[in-house]
Structures are given as C-alpha cells and as structure tokens.
C-alpha cells in the first residue's frame, strides 16, 4: 500500500533542450516502432475498419461491402427494441454497480483506515475476488442465487427460509424486470475491493494533522468525513468512477457466465447482443454498428479523462 504512490504517480523527466543527432536516439525510436505500428493497426486501423463495416450491408458469412449508409444505426435506434432494452439494462447496471461499489468501498476504506489490528487480513479478503475471472464469479453466483422452485428453494432463498426470512425470497437473475440487480450483486462482490483499495490509498495520502485539527476544533467524525476527507478524495472518486464505468459499459463476461444474456432476458447488454448478432447471427454490419456505439460511450468517458491526466502531467 505505502509504495503504491510510486507506481501511480506519473512523473516525467524534464524535456532536454539538446536535439543533436544521436544514433542512440534513433535506436530508441526503432525499438518502440513495432509497438506503435501494432497499436496503430490493431486499435485505430481496426476501429476504422469496424466503422466502415458498420456502414455496409454485410449480413452473411461472406463479406458484402455494399454501401448502406447509416441504415444499420437507424435500425438499431429506431426499430430494434432488443437493442434499446439492452442499452437500458446496461444503464441500470452501470448506475447500481458504480453506486454500490463506491458506497461499500468507501465504507470499508473508512473503517479500515482506523488502523485496526488485522487490517492486512481484512484487506486481503476484500480484494481477492479481483483476482478471479468474471466467468468464475458468474458460475459461482449463479449457484448462490439459484432461486430453486416454489417447493424446494435453493441458494440464498433457502438460507432465507432457514432463517425465517422467507418473505425476502426472490427470483434473482430470473426476474425479468430487476434481474440485472442480481448481476450487479456479483459484480460488486468482485469489484468493491478495488474501490476500497483506491479509497484507502487516497485516505492514507491525506495528512493526519488536517483531520486532527478539525477534531480539535470540535468537529464530529461525520463532519470530518463530509467536509474534509471527501472533498480531498474527489480526484480518486473521479478516477474510480471512470474505471468502473468503462468496465460496466463493456460488461459481457459476467452476463455470459450467469446466462442472463439474450433476447428478453434481464441481463441482455450491448456487449452480449453484439456478440450474438455478429458471431451467431452473422449480421456483421449490424454487429459492427453496435460495437461502434459501445466505443462511442466508452470514449466519451475515457477521452476527457486521458486528456486531463496527461495535461496535468505535462504541467507538473
């Protein structure tokens, strides 16, 4: 933890005025060129090509590059109810996922920051789900939340029955309206520890005397948190929201493993719809259009963040 800042900080060496010819400089550029070319092709070239495909009529196994203009996009937004529902599902997922991760992560971090014994152990426990795949998470949570039947409850529902809390029983991810919340629960289990780690690193960077001074002035713990700690954590909150947001806008693995994707299913999201449309249905052009729409959402979130990060770094 204490060493986290050294990797996180993005310090640069001051620009050197000397621009003499230097063979080593040439070697340096030659060494990085393969990576630049790879990114240029595999990221930017491919995005461009996907964008082009999204404007064609390709709807079969064999490519068909006849021009179709924006028809694929028009159809998705105007006629395709499944696509619109998938956007809505993803929006719902994003809001609840980010909200719960921030809330739980902050709570865990604030409590852990009280320098309790066994802090390291708790931190380890809260963070380990980050190490496993969303597929594992999905498989396990599908088992935990498996509602069972009316006569034979299973999973958490069974636990509710045994504890006399039967009224809490719910269809979880099988609920057509709110089933996405069951997916959120699994996702929060996986990612709340990450939020906690971010907040804890942020809290540890706040000088103690700042909060101490407020306490001496008679501020309650709640006031200290609200008026001093949280405002200082704002940059961390922003970073965390962006990282969680881009994960959530791309969510695919977890809904696949929980088997909640598909038409009229509660966990149908654009990432899954794109996969089915393209690789199951062979509607390549429409799939490409969905992919480009996903990219636009993610880019809207990420580009301002990248710009502000690197601008701040250039000024530093």
């Amino acid at each position: 933890m204490e060493s986290a800042s050294e990797t996180v900080a993005t310090r640069t060496s001051p620009a050197r005025p000397r621009r003499r010819f230097n063979p080593d400089r040439l070697i340096a550029i030659a060494m990085i060129i393969p990576s630049i070319v790879a990114i240029a092709v595999f990221v930017y070239g491919f995005i461009g090509w996907t964008g082009f495909i999204s404007l064609t009529k390709w709807a079969d196994l064999l490519p068909d590059y006849r021009w179709n203009g924006l028809e694929n996009y028009r159809r998705l937004f105007m006629d395709d109810e499944r696509f619109q529902q998938s956007l809505l599902n993803n929006a719902l997922f994003t809001v609840f996922f980010i909200g719960a991760c921030l809330g739980l992560g902050l709570l865990l971090a604030v409590v852990l920051d009280r320098k309790l014994r066994a802090e390291g152990l708790f931190r380890t426990i809260f963070l380990f789900p980050m190490a496993v795949s969303f597929i594992v998470t999905g498989v396990v949570w599908r088992w935990i939340l498996n509602p069972g039947t009316a006569n034979q409850a299973q999973g958490v529902n069974l636990l509710f029955d045994q504890m006399g809390l039967g009224f809490l029983k719910w269809d979880w991810f099988l609920d057509n309206q709110w089933g996405i919340l069951a997916v959120v629960l699994a996702a929060v289990w996986q990612m709340a520890g990450y939020t906690m780690a971010m907040f804890l690193a942020g809290l540890r960077a706040i000088p103690d005397d700042l909060r101490e001074a407020a306490r001496v002035d008679g501020a309650t713990e709640g006031q200290v948190l609200w008026h001093i700690t949280l405002p200082l954590l704002k940059p961390i909150v922003v970073s965390t929201v962006i990282i969680l947001g881009h994960i959530s806008l791309k969510i695919f693995d977890l809904t696949s493993a929980m088997k909640v994707g598909g038409a009229a299913k509660p966990g149908d999201v654009p990432g899954f719809y794109m996969y089915e449309t393209t690789f199951r249905g062979n509607y390549f052009a429409r799939g490409a259009a969905i992919a480009i729409i996903m990219l636009v959402f993610v880019a809207t979130l990420i580009i301002p963040y990248l710009i502000s990060t690197f601008r701040a770094e250039a000024e530093a």
């Binding site: 080593d24 491919f46 409590v111 190490a131 496993v132 088992w143 999973g155 799939g287 992919a291």
Partner: protein, 287 residues
C-alpha cells in the same frame, strides 16, 4: 475519547460480517465441489458435506462420458501455454517501451502516449471482426494464427502494450535521469544503459506487470471465445463457461471446474498480493 470504546468493536463486527460475505462464495465453491451429486440435488447447499468426496473434481479434471462432461484439464493446460508466453513477451515489450518513453523522450511522445493508452480502454467488440479477418489471412508456413494458441498470444501481447508500457514508463520515470546521463557521458549506449542500469532495477516492475498480465490473460474471455472456438484450443474460461452452460452438468462438477479456473490466479494473489495491489492502482493511471 469515550466514543472509541464502542466504535472499535462495531468496526470489527462490521468488517467480520463483510469478510463472511466476501468469503461465502469460496466456502460454497469448496463444499459444493466436495459433495456427492446425490447430496447436492437433495437441496441443502449451505451445510458441510456429509462425506468428503472428490468425484466431482475427478469428473471436472478428466471428464466423464456418463456425466456428459468433457475434461477441463487440457483447457487448463491451454491456459498455461497461453498465459505464460503472453506474460513474458508482454513484460519484455512493455519494459522496452517504458524505457524509451521515460528516458529517450522524443518529439511527439506526449501525443503518442495518450494515443497508446486509449487502447487499453476500448471495448474489444470494436476490433473483433477485423481481428478475425486479419488472423485468418496471416499464416507463416505451418504456423496459423486464427484459432490457435500462438494467435491468441499475439492478440494478448498487442492489446497488453498500453498497460505494460504505462506501468514500466511510470516505474522508470522514478529512476533519476542523472544516472542515465552519467552513463551516457561514460559512453554507454542505448542497450548498455538498459542492461546495466534500468533492467537490474526493474525486478519489482517486472513482478507487477507480470502479475497483471498473467491475471488478465488467464481470466480473459471474449477474445478466447471468438478466436479459439475449437474445444481443443480453448482456454479454461471458455471451457468452464460451456460446462456451466450445459443443463445436464451437476452443480458439484461446475463448482470443481470453477475452482480449477480460479486456483492459479488466486495463488498468485495470495503469494504476491502486495504487487497485485500495485498493478491494480497503476492500472487506473493516476491515484
């Protein structure tokens, strides 16, 4: 100060309850995988197994025609053949890129770097179709890239460039420029400076990057699903997803399979958790 008296027990109570919540799926994984099929179908999923039974582990590992389960062990090996080379190549590439960007700043690097970084955030759906098309066309003698482990390694190495470059660049930026300048004055060239100054100091950086890459590649699903559809070359995430998708497969076998898929990265986390944390925080650009 009197408030401290009740706050500490409450804190511990809260943390303990949360710890139970976070550990519960692991408990369930373990006990379910060790129950007999009959016991699981009887219903009580929360209790300890009547008798510890490794049948489901065996079925998940080597498969069983009777239970309609194909073995996961070959897929586990696929994941190793995939993740180990991809991790090593990614780390070497990232180290070189980070060295160039941190110590050989050239004109345009400030524009280039964010452009590279953008690559780690894109939804991979937006590159999948061209990727399939290109890999289908690329063939070097007997080495095919579409639907093969080497092809998937290439994909992970390329899309791993942003994060590995970022971590190494930030790591090397913390090494004083004066050391590099002094070596230059002594006549050391590009590779000499790297091998005698930067590389020996890079061990923690390599550990962070390799943990990050190993975990990401091991856990990755979308590329593997689309590019390696043939069960023979599927990594374990895809095989597990197929196993779990089948209605006939017993829960205990699914849980044993999930455990198999989780164990390598969990081990890495338990043994090298401190470095895992650093990678995590570095992956979010700024703290």
């Amino acid at each position: 100060m009197s408030t401290i008296k009740w706050k500490t027990p409450v804190s511990y109570l809260f943390l303990t309850l949360m710890a139970l919540f976070f550990l519960m799926p692991i408990y369930l994984l373990l006990v379910t995988s060790m129950k007999s099929v009959a016991e699981v179908s009887r219903g009580d999923i929360w209790g300890l197994p009547d008798r510890i039974n490794f049948d489901s582990w065996r079925v998940a590992l080597v498969g069983s025609r009777a239970a309609g389960v194909t073995a996961l062990w070959p897929n586990f090996l696929n994941s190793i053949y995939l993740a180990v080379p991809a991790t090593i190549i990614s780390a070497m590439l990232g180290s070189m890129n980070g060295y160039v960007l941190a110590k050989w700043k050239f004109r345009g690097a400030n524009v280039l770097f964010p452009l590279i970084m953008f690559g780690m955030f894109i939804p991979y759906q937006s590159v999948l179709v061209p990727l399939v098309q290109l890999l289908q066309k690329m063939q070097f003698g007997p080495l095919k890239l579409y639907g093969t482990i080497p092809g998937l390694i290439l994909v992970h190495v390329v899309y791993g460039i942003p994060i590995t470059t970022l971590i190494f660049r930030n790591y090397y930026a913390a090494i004083p420029d004066e050391m590099v300048e002094a070596a230059k004055i002594d006549g050391a060239g590009f590779f000499r400076i790297y091998s005698s100054i930067l590389f020996p100091l890079s061990v923690p950086g390599f550990v962070v990057v390799m943990i990050w890459q190993f975990t990401s590649v091991w856990n990755e699903f979308l590329f593997a699903l689309v590019l390696n559809g043939n069960p023979k070359v599927q990594p374990i995430t895809v095989a597990l997803n197929n196993l779990a998708g089948s209605f006939q497969v017993d829960w205990s076998v699914q849980m044993a399979g999930a455990l198999m898929a989780a164990i390598p990265t969990l081990l890495v986390y338990i043994l090298l958790g401190r470095f895992f944390m650093r990678g995590l925080l570095a992956g979010s650009l700024k703290g």
